[in-house]
Amino acid sequence: MATTQPETSALSRATVFDDRQTQRRSELSRSWRRFKRYRPGVAGGIVIILLVIMAVFAPILAPYSPTEVNTRRLGEGPSWSHPLGFDGIGRDILSRTIYGARVALMVGIISTVIAITIGVLVGATAGYFGGWVDSLLSRITDTLMAFPLLVLLVTLAAVFSPSLKTVIVVIGVTVWASYARIVRADVLSLRERDFVMAARAAGANDIRIILRHVVPNVLGPVIVIATLGIGGIIILEAALSFLGLGVQPPTPSWGGDLSSARQFIRIYPHMAIAPGMMIVITVLAFNLLGDGLRDALDPRQRE
């Protein structure tokens, strides 16, 4: 089972002595090979590509307008002309579900990127430098994490007018703390490791060490969290819809549609199925992809 792993590691360690160009290329192709080996990861990747296609070509793929209301048919179940039926105010669910991919992907990916960027930089800097830098950054992180997110969100909802952009930014700047904390913890133990010591002894400057050695080494755990995170954020988008901070109607979003399905859950249960399934599938795809990527990119296999 797991015994193949050390071999791979040993192999990759040997490449350190190759020249840079070759090293990078071979690294990439090796990563790709490793990634391909993990079938579920490939499947996740394919699903995500399909989702992206769905989002980009939504106007072509959707049979009806996602916002057109036909109250006379509200709550109607699936039929040939409307394969997923109508929602609680009489809109075509299939069309809304297809368009919903746009919001889900944008919110999930962009805000995760924002959060990772802030979180990794703050965490790595804090963990690497220690001392007062660590104290200050950790205190900021702690303060953010100690804060009930809800107060922040309700306030932000009141101060800014909610929109897709607000949702993305708000999520991005509020969830980075968990990345920072985990990265810092990892860096704390990494810092004492040989290769960082060696780099420092070789006279590499701090920024270079952080970017070249420390950050790549903590990406593994970050990817694990980020893949979960994208799912979490897609669910959080549903939460924000309740909060009034969500994407505003009539823009279709899975989270919003799922939460409006809640009140109809006993009489029109079909309303909750499509957006719910899409959320589950998307989250699953991102997680599987993440697992695959981790195998492929894990820095400890690259050193």
Partner: protein
Amino acid sequence: MIRRLLQGIVVIFFVSIATFGILQLAPGSPIDVMVGEAQVTQEQIALIEAKWGLDKPWYVQYFRWMGNMLKGDFGQSIVRTGVPVSTMLRDAASVTIRLNLIALVISTAIAVPVGIIAAVKRNSLFDYVASIGSTIGIALPSFWISLMLIILFSLKLGWLPASGSQSWKNYIMPVMVLALQETALVARLARGSTLEILRQDFVTTARSKGLMERVVVSRHVVRNAMLPVVTVIGLRLAFLMSGTIIVETIFAWPGVGRLFIDSIFRLDYQVIQAIVLLSSIIVVVMNILTDLAYAYIDPRIRVR
């Protein structure tokens, strides 16, 4: 350690000021909710505001509140009269903690072994099932599961009461929902970190020394893999204070999460502030404990 404590106090101080500042930004006044449809005049609204000190500038309100807090007086809720905020919090916290501790214990007991086994038996059927199962567990919106459970167990089968907190039967559904998510999350993390550890040199070394796989796993891997898991569990404990709002709302458990959300919508400052402050204290304490746990598990880290 004393330094850590001092740092914690600084964080709490920052949180308290930030809370106050942000609440000031939030428009609206609890008076409007209190008054409802009563025929009132603007003067009368002003009078009620004066009674509650809401007409004072925020820093005046802040220092008055902070002073009381230091004396251990959390004040009175503007909405729920006649009960000190401390009593409200104590009642709500006992509910939330009861519910969440049970869920946390159950989920940790399931999730940690599952995660480790999944990692050790990587790419096996067990691993796939556990991975996909945990992903679905995370991805399912909890309000949806909760309502489905109620429809199934209360309405169709009639086995369990739909809400309330009086008997042990009331615990089953909310704990199921909470534990499902918790288990999914912790299992994923346990698997992820075990995989990391399995690849590290000292494990390879241990293996090459000819140690039996079981010994390697139990002696080296489990211990190290616990690092991120401890972090997560620590964070979850800390978040108990801001509660598990969905579950508390659907199953009608009067916990901290619901108290908090109700208070936000009524802008019940005293309650919001008390919850924020206490939860920040807990988070700080948990952070310190987590660091200690790290040091214990991974001796390479020295606690400064």
